[in-house]
Every structure is written in structure tokens, then in C-alpha cells.
Amino acid sequence: MEWYLPVIWGLIIGVAVIMYVVLDGFDLGIGILFPFAKEERERDTMMNTVAPFWDGNETWLILGGGGLWVAFPKAYAVVMPALYLPVIIMLLALVFRGVAFEFRWVAMTSRRWWNAAFAGGSLVAAFAQGVILGGLVQGITVKDGAFAGGPLDWATPFAALCGIGVVIGYALLGATWLIMKTEGTVAERARAQAVPLLLAVLALMAAVSLWTPIAFERIATRWFSQPNIFFLAPVPIVTVLVALAVLHWLKSGREILPFLGTVGLFLLGFVGLAISTFPYLVPPSLTVWQTAAAAPSQILMLFGVIFLLPVVLGYMAFVYWIFRGKVREGEGYH
């Protein structure tokens, strides 16, 4: 087996996951912020900012999961049973919130229920995604290439902390998205929410960054051994600088930069996690090489990705461009 194929695939999965986290992150964030809107028409506006995109955004989740299956079937077959309950709960939460996009507009008397389904589904899905992330980082018990742990191994305080981190992070993405895509009361409230959310995100990122090297020896070695520390030190430093920039942009009334800055924070956090775990797909035992699919499968799908993914990105960008600009109150696309 060519040694670089699994590495390339590790990168592709990473890109799919980060695309998902950023894109579905802001629309899940809208759901998390939903209960804080005062009036129904504000909620209409909030939902309208993401209604044309959410379905495409969520498709990245299928590419992430499906891509893992294509490129690393053994990792897929270990991770999914190990994180069984949080994965299923995330999926059910996404079911509730996905149908709420359509049901809410047809509903009359039951609209408040579908508001609750949208908000609750978004919140639970985000939390479950954080738990899945935490459950993966803290490690999975593997014996003879199969999951050999208990059904509740993932349920640790660390996973809960990651869950909270993802919820707050998505809320921040959602708030900065609203600053960019709306005006009036919705945008003003989002701007007011963004500052405390940003501070909370920083605190949670710091907590995870301190917790992981203390609790997991392999992560401490990765970061603090020489000469790694000199190459890796810029990651936390740049993170702090970007956060300060976002804070400044929020205070100075910028509309697009806070969102882009928040995306930058997510990218940096993701790079940090990747540094902590590479080359393990299933820490602490299975690497990208041990779990790789047959080489012909990875090669075939690699061609698929090289030729098709740019097309996908092209038409996605086209649709974002068609629905560019601010969504005004009452100006639904519907």
C-alpha cells in the first residue's frame, strides 16, 4: 500500500469535517439562538437566512461519515459502535430540526412546537457532536481491530466539556452569521450576544487545551517535547490574536469580519486537535494506515473527489451568491 494515500484521505476527511462544522455550525447556531428572539417575525428572519442553505450544509455530514467509511472502513466500524448513543441521539436531533424548517411554515397552531423542535434539535445535535469529538479524543478501547469497550465509555466530564464547547462555538458562529446577513433588531441582538459568546469560546478552548495534555500523556508529548514546541507554539498564539481581532471587529461595528474571524477560530481549534491526534484515527491505537480501505477503493474515490468536489464547491458558491445580501424582516424567500 502506498503510504501517502491514507494520509491524503485523512486530509480529505479533515476538510469534510471542518466544512461541515463551519457550514452546519452557523445554521445549528441559529437554532441555538432561536429561543432568545423576542418575536415570531424575528425568528422568521433568522430562519430565512439559512433556509436555502441548510440542506447542502448538512450534506457535508454525510460526506464526512460516508468518506470515513469509504477510506477507513475499519475506523468507521470501530468509532460508530463505540459512540453509538451520542451518534444516534445526534441523528434524531437533526431529524427534528431538519423537518422543522418545512413544518414550521405549514404549522399554524403548532408553530411554537416546531420552534421548540428547531431550537432543541439544534442544541442537542451540537452537544452530541461535541461529545462525539471528546469521546474520540479521549480514546476508544480496541481489541483485535474491533470496539471492545462498554456502551457508556464516552460519558466523561471531558466529553461533556467538549459538548458545551461546541454548543457555545456554534452559537457564536450563528450570531456572527446573523450580524452579516440581517439588520435591525435581529442583528443588534446578535452583536450583543456575540461578545460574551466569544469570551466563553476562548475560555472553553483554553480549558480543552489544558485538559488534554494533562489527562493524556500522548498529547502532552506531542505538544511539549522538543523541537515540536517551537513549531507548534504559533497555534495558540495566533488563536489568541484572532480572538482579539474578532472582539475588536464586533465592537467597531464590522459586519462580515466577525464571521470570518470566528471561522478562523474554528480552523485553528481544528488544527490543534489534528496535531494532538495525528496519525491516529481512533486514538490511541488505530492509525490511518491500519484502518485504510483497499488501495483501489481509495484511488477510485480520490479521482471522484478531485474531479467532483470542485464542481460541488462551484455550484454551492453559486447558490450562496444568488442568495447574497441581507435578509430583511418580512422579506422571506418563500
Binding site: 433556509a51 460526506l63 467509511w69 441523528l91 431529524v95 483497499a294 460541488v312 447558490v319
Partner: protein, 464 residues
């Protein structure tokens, strides 16, 4: 309490996949129908086609959302509940799903945005094009998922290495021996299912004396599809059956409730197959009928269930009754189409009320046929998940029974709520009818309408 995880996981998968298949089957047909309506509208400029397209787009939106969310569940369920299956077929089946994501899911999901929300943002030709792209996306999705399913029925183009399937020839994997019949059979089923719903809605409006112009278009298009595509489907289905008889003889033996291969098989019209006693109770049958159908020879012999060891036989009741339900519905469909065509030919202005009344109740028929056919083909493949290679009982994830029981309960609860509400809302949209678009703002003008208008009659859904 002790739970058998394999049984629970099978119930869970049967439930989630049956729930899911209803919606894509409907949206495959509906997207093609809407694209057709918009193309006719673009060509003729007749407003009725535009009104119909917008009306059905609202229903499409609700159905599509349910299909998407239940489909995401499936893409993870292969790993959560069937991890040994996922590992075994990972290098062969997973790339097919990967191509489905890249060539179908993104296409549908992205252009759906324009289809639902783009009426006022893009020129009409681009909107029509988006509808066609969505319809094409649903077709591609069916292509890949049926390639994957067919491979599990008739695996080809691979070898076993270290106990796992290893790909040798991608064309043989995709175009495996049953794919070329399974794909058209499923696609035609989807188109027929949608035609029945469209026909049924048209009949309801005509009976109530509402929306006569729209109803007439729906009736004519629905009847035309049934009358022409129905018989084609019968031919494709028959060919598919012969293909199964060649590659999956145990499945066909179960479908025909045929036990003893030493005698020509009768065509069993009704019976209660008794799997323990290995015979049929209360059998009503046409002698040598099944032999004629399967072998095209009155004296033809084909394998019976007793030719297979008991642990290699599929359950008989599901495939047996499922097949009869599917064929029964098929006959009704063709009759509805031909009678309707004759009624329209005889008198274009008025269609007899008794015929309308029958049609008004015909909407679930396609769904019944699809679910029955699904049982025939999937249960008929048991005890294998990949025919002849991997048994279902060996495909399961290492899971504690209680977790599978818990998630099964959650799926039943959540899907129950979603299904009931979704059907209720779709019915409400149908009752409201296509008339709401009369207060549309003029086309090709980006509206800044007051909120009240946005919530007015017929504007309630994103599709409106």
C-alpha cells in the same frame, strides 16, 4: 432484561429503511413531475402549469425534508448497528455511497435551495433548470444506492482477501448481474407512485368541484403515466423476477412458496406457507403456472425450498405475501390507467364519478407496492446480508442489547411523530389546493412585501 441485539437491530433497520424509502420514492417521481410541468410552462406559457408546479413544490419540500433527515440516519446506521458489514463491504460498497454523495446528494440539496426559494431571485429558465437538476440528482441517487443494493444481492467483480471483500473490477461491481433490472424497476415504481398521488389529488378536486383546470391536467398526466408506464413496469418486473430466479433461486422459491423441485410448480394464488411442515396450507393454485412463468415451459423444473438447508432458507411469509400484494397493486394500476384512458377518449369533458371516487382513494397504492417489493427483495435475500458471503447475524456491531432497544424505542417515537405530522401537513397543503397563488406578486420582481402578505393564503410554505 435480556435483549437479542441482532433481532432488535434488524427491526430497527427494517423500520428506518422502510420509513425512509417512502419519501425518496415519492420525491424521485415528484421532482420529475415538477420539472416536466415547468418545462411545459416555459414552452407554452400556460399559467396552469406554473400554478401546479408551485403547488406541488410545497408538498415536495415537506417530503424532501423527511427524506433527507431519515437518509442521513441510514448513512450512519451502517456503522452504528452493522459495523461488521461495514468493514466487510467497506472497500466495495462504500465508494458507491461516496459517489452518491458527490454526484447526487450535494446536487439535490444545493439546487433545492433555488427550487424552493429562488422564484423571485433567478430568471424562469434558471429556475426550470434547477428543477431539472434536482430531478436528475434524485435519479443519480437511485442509480448509486441501487448499484450498492444490487451488489449485495448479486455480488460481482471482487475477491475475498483477509476475509474482506476486495474490489477487482469497478464496472462489474456497479453493473452487477441484477442492477440493470433493479434500477428501472425502482425508478418506474417511483414514477408510478407519484402518478397515483397526482391522479388521486386531481380526482378529489374534481369530485369537490374545485380547481377544474388544474385537476384536468393532473388527471390526464396521471392516467397517461399509469396507462403507458404501468405495462412497461409489468414487463420490467417480470424480467427482474427471471433474473432473480437465475441468481437467487432461494428467493424465488420463497416467493412462489415452492417446496419440492422434483415436480412442476403450480402458480399459488393463495396459501398459508407452513415453514415447519414444509408445505402450503389452504392452497389455491393453477397447476404448472409457476413453471410456465419461471421456465417458460409447462414441465419446467426449478429449485424448491427443500433444496436449501433450513439455515440457508429465507423466511417464506414475507416474500410470498409481499409479492402478491405488489403484483395485485400493479394490476390495479394498469386497470386504472386503461379505464381512465378509455373514459377520457370517450368523453373528454366529464369523467364518470365512480371512476373519480376510486381514484380519490388510490394514492397509497404505489407506496404499498414499493414496501411490498422491498420486503420481497430484502427478506428474500435472508439469511444473507450479502448473498452467499455474509450472514446477517454475523454483520452486527458489538453492541449491548439494551442500547439497541433504547434507540429502537427512540426511532419509533421520533419517526412516529414526524410521520404523523408530515402526512397531516401534506394533506393540509393538498386541501388548501393550488389556488393560493392567485395573490402572487408579479413574476420577476424582487418583492419587499409586508409581513402580512408573506403569511397570507398560499404563502405559508417555503415552496410558496
Amino acid at each position: 432484561m435480556d435483549f437479542d441485539p441482532v433481532t432488535l437491530a434488524r427491526i430497527q433497520f427494517a423500520f428506518t429503511v422502510s420509513f425512509h424509502v417512502i419519501f425518496p420514492a415519492f420525491t424521485i417521481g415528484l421532482s420529475a413531475f415538477i420539472a416536466t410541468l415547468e418545462l411545459i410552462w416555459l414552452k407554452t406559457g400556460r399559467d396552469v402549469y406554473h400554478r401546479l408546479a408551485r403547488f406541488w413544490t410545497k408538498i415536495f419540500a415537506v417530503s424532501f425534508a423527511m427524506g433527507v433527515v431519515s437518509g442521513i440516519v441510514l448513512s450512519y446506521q451502517f456503522g452504528t448497528n452493522w459495523s461488521r458489514y461495514a468493514e466487510f463491504v467497506g472497500s466495495v460498497v462504500a465508494p458507491l455511497i461516496g459517489f452518491e454523495v458527490l454526484t447526487a446528494f450535494f446536487l439535490e440539496a444545493t439546487f433545492l435551495g433555488i427550487m424552493l426559494f429562488g422564484w423571485n431571485r433567478v430568471p424562469p429558465w434558471l429556475h426550470v433548470l434547477s428543477c431539472c437538476v434536482v430531478a436528475f440528482g434524485t435519479f443519480m441517487s437511485a442509480f448509486w444506492i441501487l448499484a450498492a443494493n444490487s451488489w449485495m444481492q448479486t455480488p460481482a467483480g471482487f475477491e475475498l482477501r483477509d476475509g474482506l471483500a476486495y474490489p477487482l473490477d469497478w464496472l462489474q461491481i456497479i453493473f452487477n448481474p441484477s442492477f440493470h433490472w433493479r434500477l428501472p424497476h425502482m425508478l418506474l415504481a417511483a414514477y408510478l407512485t407519484t402518478s397515483l398521488v397526482v391522479l388521486s389529488v386531481g380526482a378529489r378536486y374534481l369530485l369537490a368541484g374545485k380547481f377544474p383546470e388544474e385537476s384536468r391536467v393532473m388527471m390526464v398526466m396521471g392516467i397517461g403515466m399509469l396507462a403507458i408506464v404501468g405495462p412497461i413496469q409489468a414487463f420490467v418486473g417480470d424480467s427482474h423476477g427471471l433474473n432473480s430466479a437465475h441468481y437467487q433461486p432461494a428467493k424465488i422459491a420463497a416467493v412462489e412458496a415452492h417446496w419440492d423441485s422434483s415436480k412442476p410448480a403450480p402458480l399459488v394464488l393463495f396459501a398459508w406457507p407452513d415453514e415447519k411442515a414444509e408445505k402450503n396450507l389452504y392452497e389455491i393454485s393453477i397447476p404448472r403456472g409457476a413453471s410456465l412463468m419461471i421456465t417458460h415451459n409447462l414441465d419446467g423444473l426449478f429449485p424448491g425450498l427443500k433444496d436449501f438447508a433450513p439455515q440457508d432458507r429465507p423466511p417464506v411469509l414475507g416474500p410470498f405475501f409481499g409479492f402478491r400484494a405488489m403484483v395485485g397493486v400493479g394490476v390495479i394500476m394498469i386497470l386504472l390507467g386503461w379505464i381512465g384512458a378509455w373514459l377520457i377518449y370517450r368523453d373528454e369533458e366529464t369523467i364518470t364519478r365512480w371512476y373519480l371516487r376510486i381514484c380519490s382513494w388510490a394514492w397509497p397504492l404505489g407506496f404499498i407496492a414499493i414496501l411490498s417489493g422491498w420486503i420481497v427483495t430484502e427478506q428474500g435475500r435472508q439469511p444473507w446480508v450479502v448473498e452467499g458471503l455474509l450472514r446477517t447475524e454475523d454483520a452486527m456491531s458489538p453492541l449491548a442489547g439494551w442500547t439497541v432497544a433504547l434507540t429502537l424505542g427512540l426511532f419509533l417515537l421520533v419517526y412516529g411523530i414526524i410521520f404523523a405530522t408530515g402526512i397531516y401537513f401534506m394533506n393540509r397543503l393538498i386541501v388548501r389546493g393550488p389556488g393560493g397563488t392567485l395573490i402572487e406578486p408579479p413574476a420577476r420582481e424582487r418583492p419587499t412585501r409586508p409581513l402580512a402578505a408573506a403569511h397570507g393564503e398560499g404563502q405559508m410554505t417555503p415552496g410558496g
